[in-house]
Symmetry: none
Subunit: 361 residues, 3 copies
């Protein structure tokens, strides 16, 4: 027994090389975690590519574990960490059936009421040993009291190895706070049905699904895991993309998502998606999640989340294919297309700036 | 068929053409729903054909959502709609992995205490855009109080566009009521084990499974979803059929199923099936569901549901194959074979009458 | 990017404290892995206790990942590690919904053609921080060629920190080899049906289920994961135990299981269980797994696995309850009861010897 326990401890322990400033005693146990799972056929599309939604769900589960663990690490009111926001996440390389998804999470910043978690995902081909970084995601969690779900508790502060780490974290914290306030305003839009739509119009590919929230979708507080919501969103976005270009499609990225409203067990959620923009080789899809607490609640249907997903179309050899241009018809569609173009160009510019920066170093 | 398809089109679009009387403000939101889901490998057999049970489960989920929503649409005691009956359902064309199942549901009649829902399922190949009607199902739900599961509540009446719609609905209501009373009587039969059975006898292919009812199988009231039960029934029926003919088999139809008895979370259910009849190219399988509330309940094991499933055997090219004739040994088996033949001939006659009627129009 | 990658590396790396002998360069990456997952309602019974089968499945997945990774760590024919044997496994403490299961795996011995993996499971209450060891399991894997599933490949040898580790491993290897040969012989038994059994007899609680093997149940070779089989076995054993004592029951231990025969995708498997022995507070259930490759295969139904599960009955406060004695009727039942008693007394004696040994140290 003693032998076994010490082995466990070692395995879990992330010992820090001096100068990097990790861990020190309780470090690993509380602020770092790693997980793995073999990808199964149900996790993937018919071409064998793992759904972006499956990966987002794993990322969020890792974040929820590590932040709930951290927020309960000091004596006090027990709490569950609820997902408040996911930063823009890129899918850097595809993952396939039979590969192992290695997910590692780490707490990188704490404000008074929120926790920033960075999660890395690597795909590992256990036959060849090849490993690829597939995602680097940043999530924000807020601790909610187990006894009173409307009460946000205080977060125990983490120790930073260097002062700059804290300063950079604070900057990220302020930025996301601003962005969350903004999105809270533009949430009223709905997706209206279209009769006999022409191919490649918005109405042609728009799609929706409904899901009855069951117990295994929920946290201990009885609210839907953010990861479950993101998986459903990716499913709808994928159907929209496939309907538009009729080829094998994969998730390329997800814009920042803010979770303003919780969704309770027993709700019916409607997830709907429409295409907003196409570049030569990518499609942007806007996804809405509406919750309908139709039993036992006096409350009206409400918008719980919305987000932009970007998809690319792949050839049988896995090369990006040109995408048919989206045909916009109404003024609103044209406006949304221009907005999408703006996001697209902004992202492109940011990426080029990063590349230049790396090249200079 | 034409009438059904136009309803589908309307329902999926959710826009009311004037004079058709759909929608009008809250109309669609409350009495109509549509959604889609990609079929995954686990939804299908090894030949890639989606299990009939997977489709039945989706149909029932859509029905449960729409009828629960409707029954809670007026202020009053909150309730959950429980499945009371599914009318005979044909599987008109196979659905495959990677296709999107589009399910649309609509309330078509309400009595004082029950709701009739019509659900249409279309398979959509999102790569080619091809769409096929796979099912048109009719389900009856009863609203049970959330506080007292034994209390049946009143159903808010729906508005009909034309008087004839109400009259036809009433006729369907009366017919199913009669049928429900009848089946309640012939429910005592059991499937007895057979030792060392010969190939193609009843004993050779009969099968049963047990399932422990978990939280995700259940509604908010803590009782098994009708769709979960039907999925398990189809699973057993499919194994009986495959054991008999040792080829790829698919569900062709399900006879009307009455849900007389609820099944509670934590029960063990035994689902058993035996072949009752074979025609040249089809097999009829009778399936029983028995519930065993063995923990914390004084109640004995009871018969909850029974039904007849019809299967066909398919070649690798998807063509119907001849089926080995069922060898009946006991008097009971011979009687059941004759009864099955009666049902088979009756269905055949009905279908021919419908075809002639369509041809005349 | 570089920063992110080095962080990942550190997180995954298990750095060795000198003298403990772990790791050494490639050590962690190839011979150690750890995973975690939140336990959901679907993983547990209605009393909130996670099913033993859920845990066995996680254990086996960890073992399969680490041994497949190791066997492919040197250039050569790609292979998939298949489960050959699980040593007796005790469930030391219950795990509950909402807790995190932390699973860590390590390769502890390699013979020419097999790999020994030790897997530890801890339950972690992330609200209180409390951690408990729930399982320490030992599994044996054999690498099968991806191109020719009947070809067993050679295993790259691991490095031992101390000579004694290798010697002890070799001893364990020889012991299990002997045991595997023995069980291969006593595999012909079948569970015969009983009509109208009395309470507390063998026939009263015996149960069986059938399962159609789907794609997500299988490895890359198209054969059922050992963990999937064990989960189904635990499900049947649990139903047998609950039928016998009609209370909340939990898995206490599983005897060594040998996987002599592979089970292919598309098979129907029949998992059947019968009670063989009861002590004052425990029940022993024998479980058989038979595979029926009924489509596209000339092969007859065959026995793939068999095992003994031990269950205990718990009160609402989680205390072990007395168990009704098993009523044996036939000579075979009496013989099996005596054999079960032998296993029970042997295990009890071993445990006491271990306790004394620990006390002396």
């Amino acid at each position: 027994m003693a032998r076994q326990l010490s082995r466990w401890a070692i395995c879990c322990l992330r010992v820090a090389a001096p100068g990097l400033g990790w861990g020190r005693g309780r470090g690993c146990e509380f602020s770092c975690a790693s997980f793995g799972r073999i990808m199964r056929p149900d996790d993937a599309n018919i071409a064998g590519n793992v759904h972006g939604g499956t990966i987002l769900k794993m990322i969020e589960e890792a974040g929820a574990i590590i932040s709930t663990r951290h927020c309960n690490s000091q004596a006090g009111e027990p709490c569950v960490a609820a997902l408040a926001r996911v930063e823009r996440t890129d899918f850097l390389s595809p993952m396939c059936i039979g590969e192992v998804a290695n997910v590692s999470a780490e707490i990188t910043y704490t404000s008074r009421h929120s926790v920033e978690v960075q999660v890395n995902v690597m795909s590992e081909n256990i036959l060849t040993g090849a490993k690829k970084v597939t995602n680097k995601a940043t999530l924000w969690y807020v601790p909610l009291s187990l006894k009173n779900v409307n009460k946000v508790l205080e977060v125990p502060p983490i120790q930073y190895a260097r002062k700059e780490q804290e300063d950079e974290g604070k900057k990220r914290y302020e930025e996301q706070k601003l962005d969350r306030l903004e999105t809270k305003q533009r949430n009223g839009d709905v997706i209206l049905p279209v009769i006999n739509p022409e191919p490649h119009t918005v109405g042609y590919s728009q799609s929706s699904l409904i899901h009855l929230v069951g117990p295994s979708d929920c946290t201990l507080l009885g609210f839907v895991h953010g990861g479950v919501t993101m998986k459903l969103m990716d499913e709808v976005a994928g159907i929209v993309a496939a309907r538009h270009c009729k080829t094998n499609i994969v998730t390329a990225s997800v814009d920042a998502i803010n979770f303003h409203e919780k969704i309770k067990k027993g709700c019916v959620i409607t997830v709907s998606g429409r295409m907003t923009f196409t570049s030569n080789k990518s499609m942007e899809i806007e996804v809405f999640v509406d919750a309908d607490p139709f039993v036992d609640e006096p409350r009206e249907r409400y918008r719980a989340v919305s987000a932009f997903f970007t998809y690319v179309s792949l050839s049988k050899e896995g090369k990006p294919l040109p995408v048919p241009q989206l045909l916009t018809e109404t003024e609103d569609e044209k406006r949304r297309f221009e907005e999408g173009k703006g996001r697209y160009l902004q992202t492109k510019a940011k990426r080029q700036a990063q590349l230049q920066q790396s090249a200079q170093q």
